[in-house]
Amino acid sequence: MSTAYAPDEMMAVEASRRLADGTVCFVGIGLPSLAANLARRTHAPGCVLVYESGTIGSKPDELPLSIGDGELADTADAVVSVPEVFAYWLQGGRIDVGFLGAAQIDRHGNLNSTVIGSYEQPGVRLPGGGGAPEIATNVRDVFVMLRHTSRAFVSALDFTTSVGDNVRVVVTDIGILEPVDGELTLVALHPGATLEQARAATGWELRVADPLPETEPPTPAELRALRALRTKGSG
C-alpha cells in the first residue's frame, strides 16, 4: 500500500483523531462522514454516528454515498423521523460534535453556505443552510472541514448562514486552525505546507501560533482503514 496520501486524506485523518471514543457526532456526507467512520474503525470504536436523515448509531462498512443510504438505516441502532432527530436529539443536547462545511468562513468561524453575492440577486445561489444553523448552536463542539483558499477564507461573508460561537477547530488541506481569544489562529501546518501558503490562502491577516508544530502525517494503519472505507468509490 502506498504511504503517499492526498490532502483530503490528511484532513479526514486529522479530524478523526479529534473524536474521542464514545463521542456522539452529527455527520454530513463527504469528508465528515469519512472522518467519523475512520474514528469508529480505528481508535474510537464507540463513536456514535448520527445522520440528519434520522439514523442513530449507524455503522456502515463502506462510505455511504448519500445522507440517506439504505445501509445507514440497516446498520443503525435506531431510525427516527427527521423532526425527531432535530428536536429530540440535536436540540435535546444529545450531540457532542457536529461537522460543518461551507463556501465561506470568516475569522470568527461564521459560515456561509447560502449565496455568493447579494441574497436578492445572487451571483451564485448555493444550496443553503440545511441543518447547519441549528447544528452550529445546539452541539457542544463544531468541527469545520474545508479547503483552504482565499475564496473560502474571507474577511467578510456574503451571508452568515451559521454562527461560529461553538467552532473548536477548522481542519483544512493546509493546516489546523483553532479559536484563540475569539479569532481563528493557525495552530499547525500539515507536512509539506508552508506558512506563506496559509497566509496567501487566507483573506485576513492570519494569526499564527508560536511555535507552529507540524501535523503528524497519516499512519499506515490510518491510511489502510481510510481506504478500506472508500472501496465503494466516493467520487
Binding site: 436523515s53 443510504d69 445507514l72 423532526p83 436540540q91 445561489r125 444550496p127 448562514t161
Partner: protein, 282 residues
C-alpha cells in the same frame, strides 16, 4: 377515492396555484408523482420540500412553480441543482420566489401543521442572516422567558409521498428512513400516496409505520416510482443518475429535451422506465 390511477389523482386533487409538498428525505422521493405534475402542466405551484433535489429541479425547470419553500437545495453528493439556480440567478423559465428555512425549522413547521397548531417552536435560527430573510419570529417562553424561534406551520393544500406498499383498503406502510413524510401528509388538506405495490396483508416490518387509509385520499400504484431515489427493500438509489443529472440539467435545451423524451412523451411510470432503457437523445 382510495385506489386510483396516479393521473386521475393528480388531476382531481392538485389545482393550479396550490401549495404542494412532495416529501421523502433522500429515500422514497415521489418522482412518479412529480412527473405527473409536469405532464399535466400544473402551474403557479408553491412547492414545499426540505431538500428540493432533482424532483423539484425538474418541476422548476418546467415552469410549474411560482414559489419554493425549502431548507437545502442541492444535488446530494453531487453539487448544484442547475434548474433551481437558473431560476434564482436568471429568472428562467420564470421568477421564483424563495422562502428559506433551516432543516430544524422546516421539520418543526411540518410537525405543527400535522398537529393543526399555528406555529412550531424551536431553539433555532439564532444569529446569522436567515431570520431577516424568512418567515420566523422570536417569542418568549411564557414560563421561563427563554427566547425561542416560532415558524409558521406548513399547511399544504396537497401532500404527496411514496411508500413501499399499501393493502387493498388503502392503509399505507413504509419503513427505512422515514424523513418527514408522516408529518407532511397529516399537515396537508389532501393526500396522495404512490406505492410500489398493493398487497393483501401488510406483514409487520421492523421500524415500519402505517398511515391509516382514512388520512389518505388516493393510493396509486407506481412501481419504481421513487427513481432515481430508492425504496428500501425494493431497489437501490441510482447514484449514477444523480451524477448524470448534473450534465443533463446544466443546459436549458438539453434539460428540455430530456424532460420531453422521458416525461412529456411517456404516459406513466412504466413508460418512463422503458424510455430510460433506450438510448438517451443527443
Amino acid at each position: 377515492m382510495t385506489e386510483a390511477l396516479l393521473s386521475d389523482a393528480v388531476r382531481e386533487l392538485v389545482r393550479d396555484g396550490d401549495t404542494v409538498a412532495l416529501e421523502g428525505f433522500t429515500h422514497l422521493i415521489p418522482h412518479a408523482a412529480g412527473h405527473e405534475l409536469v405532464r399535466q402542466g400544473k402551474r403557479e405551484l408553491t412547492l414545499v420540500r426540505m431538500t428540493p433535489d432533482v424532483i423539484y429541479d425538474q418541476l422548476i425547470g418546467m415552469g410549474c412553480a411560482r414559489k419554493l419553500v425549502f431548507s437545502w437545495g442541492g444535488n446530494p453528493g453531487v453539487g448544484s441543482l442547475h434548474r433551481l439556480r437558473d431560476a434564482v440567478e436568471h429568472g428562467w423559465p420564470g421568477r421564483l420566489e424563495l422562502e428559506e428555512h433551516s432543516h430544524a425549522g422546516m421539520a418543526a413547521a411540518y410537525a405543527a401543521g400535522a398537529a393543526h397548531l399555528p406555529f412550531g417552536v424551536l431553539r433555532g435560527y439564532r444569529g446569522g442572516d436567515l431570520p431577516a430573510r424568512t418567515r420566523v419570529a422570536t417569542i418568549a417562553c411564557p414560563f421561563t422567558g427563554e427566547e425561542l424561534a416560532a415558524v409558521p406551520a406548513h399547511r399544504p393544500d396537497v401532500g404527496i409521498v411514496h411508500a413501499q406498499r399499501a393493502d387493498r383498503k388503502g392503509n399505507v406502510q413504509l419503513w427505512g428512513i422515514l424523513g418527514v413524510q408522516k408529518e407532511a401528509l397529516l399537515a396537508s388538506a389532501r393526500a396522495i400516496v404512490t406505492v410500489e405495490e398493493i398487497v393483501d396483508v401488510l406483514e409487520p416490518r421492523p421500524g415500519a409505520i402505517v398511515l391509516p387509509s382514512w388520512v389518505v385520499d388516493a393510493v396509486c400504484v407506481a412501481p419504481r416510482g421513487a427513481h432515481p431515489s430508492y425504496a428500501h427493500g425494493y431497489y437501490d438509489r441510482d447514484n449514477d443518475f444523480y451524477l448524470a443529472w448534473d450534465t443533463i440539467s446544466r443546459d436549458r435545451d438539453r434539460f428540455a429535451a430530456w424532460m420531453r423524451h422521458h416525461v412529456l412523451e411517456t404516459a406513466d411510470i412504466t413508460e418512463y422506465h422503458e424510455s430510460l432503457r433506450e438510448a438517451v437523445p443527443a
